[in-house]
Symmetry: D2
Subunit: 330 residues, 4 copies
């Protein structure tokens, strides 16, 4: 772990070079200590759009300046909350490049690079690394659900990880993909030297505990994929969280992290409980449009989504407000 | 409700000589603290059968003698693992009566009394109380899934709780019923003076945390319905667990409880993780036949299930053994 | 088939004796030709209750008199629409006895006798036969969903059929049980001499066609379990239907049968299409309470359901009326 | 209907111009008769790849020559069986262009142009029309499942249809998308002058019948999305089918069409039943790799799929062969 600390202490200037985090950490430490430290909180940042639904890079940068003041470990860029399926490959890469340029050097950029085909994922992963991503977050393919068994998924992720210039984080989000990355595939893939962790958004805490248990010899890092079960995930051995709600209540989620990591579980519980409803509102219940609306209330640029995502109705907006206010956040 | 108050006013002697947990907690605390203290670990005990598939009361009592040495808070009798849907009403009541007679007075007997119709549930609840149950565990009706909305379920449980001589614990077990007791119904019902808690076997830790949060003014007690997420449930505010695995590894689950309650989370995590696979094997994966097989290995009478539950195949038995041995239990 | 025709030609007087259809057909025809002819339309009759939720045998008989004027092949008694999970075993049997006494001798009484355990199903089947049922309709056990694989279900149904005095009809209704009777189990069981058919309420027409195909050497009879796909089921080889909507629009469903059987598909289609929405309203969408409300509109006794089934709300009643009126039935 | 025949009679040379089918049919016939006649059978053609997983245009053309001899109404290009999620936009367009050039002028080319975002779908639709597609088949977006309600989907398809130079066919394939295009959305969209039909692959025959019923004033055309329920779909009012199995048994599916259209239902049933298992094998059970394997057996170029789709295992290949041979096709 020393290596990681050394790496995180590198001056911003060093980071301006073309070495990726992965190459650098390897060059400093050798293969045995190669795994990137993922521990901490990440907002999977939203992508602001102009009125014409083009990516609004200006507002993106303004958001980044505000996020810079919050003790995040890094940002997830072009994850589900970034509306990645609605962006072209060019846009996905350009957003990552923009983020990397604006962000402090000591913050990780984890870039979503998953596509349906293996070849497209391999290519986009390389482009993301070239654009400055420190790691890639790779969602499992899901269109041919019936054929995406453990064998196929192991083949897929192995090829991607074999060729990726940066460490790979697996990404399981069954609410969107309709397919949970099978546990045996995760355990198998945890042995790959370039696969360093999993973002699990399914929220099955038994499964998360078992993944931690069965990968304990691999230094494999599990990140909670939602704020609703962040504390429970820490409790069973997760090292951090990628939480949509961190776009809105980032400071509070970092505080929850601090309480969990320092063993202050009673205080953590009180805070965690106040976050469940706001989190559900901006994810499962009302989705990205609600996340963006809540961002506006808390001083960030959210704005509209790309079509076919629709603005909230008036009733939905009221419900969203209630889910924040009844928990003391508004 | 009068009946409840009358019963609660009975002197300890009336109750058969020994103080029940219910009476004791009441005698210490008065009306304001009237809710039965459910905190602790409960095995939902299996029902032994003879070769002809009749209830084997002799073996049941032998099991009870062994359970008496484990610091359980009580037993759940005629829950899902007791094969209650396969027993007649007479048998269900007689098993509860047998358990109550054999068990130490300071252990709670929580009896499953849920039926599909409200009237049958009301009647069986009364019979269970008369047979000595300290509380009843009432599963939600589920056959007409599409009609069992919050309104219908609130009506159902309210009528049952209104007339029940003993406190009612709600029971949500979607793996069997195909229907999760809706959160808003749970929150509403938590206000009923004779509904004291919920056994939640769904394992959605976000939901469990939210239920604890939204019922915090009600002294409503949540029990984890499976050993796989027991530690996480404690972490978010549950007070105990009803765990099939406690039929087999009861001492270990009580140890896990002790570690959680005393805030020794690191040790708890190590123990919890070793219990996930054995627990999955005797519940979700291989069910009651596996639970009964494992009981045999650990010195209890398990035996066969009633038809149509089938004995394990040889391959399943091997897998079951592996799930225990690979975690150091066999 | 000759035997069946012979049997169907028996005078009503012969049917008044204590021989069941099964025994009689066997005595007339020998084992090889024993299968009961199921072809035709059956209402799965509702159970009327008094204001106190007791079975209202008087109103039941009045309904039966009205059904007697409709060319049904018979009645299904104590199926899902009879609220069987809400009746005691005594009530289930008594309702069947009442129906058999009131019904013309040439109409089949198919009695629901499925229970969760094999032993209870065997016993209730015998009682149903003794009460005059010509056949039993046996739903698959479903509580231990994960263990109810083809092997367990084949064991269950084989034991029930082995001991049943009357022919057995399998019953798959996944909307209620959460479990579809697996195709390979159906095909295997179709070979049993005392299993004569299947009521399939799942509505997967591909599956129904395949079942017809794979059982074609067995003289196995498939009944559509809902009016929504009755015509399509006839098209792929079903011989009839057990349709909740036949409690309301019985004459019309018999007319649809007549059109299908005589190959008048264009006329059948027009009629079928007008039945889909009313059927959905009284089944999937609004359930038994809606069925009973619609029965009132069409001159039958419907009345209330047993708790926890709730009466329709005003909005639901309006929607129900609309689903009938927009298709020209009200 | 005359208009359509006139249009289909246009010489190939006319088709090389810049008029799309939609414009041409409008110019020939006026608004009232504008809807394109979709009736008939379409194979959703597979995309052959080289050993390096590049599109093999040579083999594609060889397949097209063989399909030219079968009385298909047209081809679906870049549907689910064309592995469209694995192709780049360029490849998707180029495949359509290739097909249009090679195919007889009187065969329809229906091109899959659905993307997740509305803007991408609008753009690809235009490119597909420019590449010679006569119609586009537009699958519903599905990633943000919880937000893709009827309102959002109506907005999406309306924008796409408003701007599309060619008629739009809706496409619902819940096995892949995890989301069925809601019935009310279909009914609403059926009123759009540029939306001419629906490919429904869900197989819910009740729903298909209801869609036909509720769109009967719109001249809206429903195509069965799978061979397993083709006959039943014709029975309830569908006008054709887009069937993966038509890549293998195209002649037979056209024969089934002929039998259904001419009212020879008894013969149709015999043929339909023999097609269910082969169809299930190349779709739900074993997917595109099985489709491509079966194509090889029947004289077409199938070959391998793009990763992460894997080749069949030996056991799967045996099962596939059995599903064809046991029904007399091999």
């Amino acid at each position: 772990m020393l290596c990681v600390r050394v790496w995180r202490g590198l001056s911003p200037r060093c980071r301006g070079g073309h070495l990726t985090a992965w190459n650098r950490s390897r060059s400093h430490t050798g293969a045995a200590a190669a795994k990137l430290d993922l521990s901490g909180i990440y907002p999977p940042i939203a992508t602001p759009f102009t009125a014409k639904e083009d990516v609004d890079y200006h507002r993106l940068q303004e958001n980044l300046q505000k996020y810079a003041k919050i003790p995040f470990k890094g940002l997830v860029v072009q994850g589900s909350n970034g509306e990645y399926p609605y962006l072209t490959e060019e846009e996905r890469v350009e957003v990552v490049r923009t983020v990397r340029r604006s962000l402090q050097a000591d913050k990780l950029v984890m870039a979503g690079s998953g596509c349906e085909s293996t070849r497209a994922t391999v290519q986009l992963t390389e482009r993301m690394a070239a654009a400055g991503a420190d790691a890639v977050l790779v969602v499992n393919p899901c269109f041919y659900k019936g054929k995406m068994d453990s064998h196929a998924l192991i083949q897929h992720f192995t090829k991607v990880a074999d060729s990726s210039p940066v460490p790979v984080v697996l990404y399981s989000v069954p609410a969107n993909t309709g397919l949970e990355l099978p546990l045996d595939a995760v355990v198998h893939l945890s042995q790959h030297p370039n696969i360093v962790g999993l973002k699990d958004s399914g929220g099955d805490i038994t499964r998360i505990g078992l993944i931690v248990h069965k990968t304990k010899t691999q230094d494999f890092q599990v990140l909670a994929g939602s704020a609703g079960f962040l504390m429970a995930a820490y409790c069973v051995g997760a090292v951090g969280g990628v939480c949509a709600l961190a776009n809105v209540l980032g400071q509070e989620l970092c505080e929850l992290e601090r309480l969990c990591v320092s063993g202050r579980w009673e205080e953590a519980r009180v805070l965690q409980q106040r976050l469940i409803e706001p989190n559900a509102a901006v994810t499962r219940k009302l989705g990205v449009p609600a996340l963006k609306q809540a961002m506006e209330w808390f001083g960030f640029h959210g704005g509209a989504c790309r079509s076919p995502l629709q603005p909230l109705t008036e009733a939905e907006t009221k419900q969203l407000r209630r889910d924040f206010s009844s928990n003391g956040w508004l």
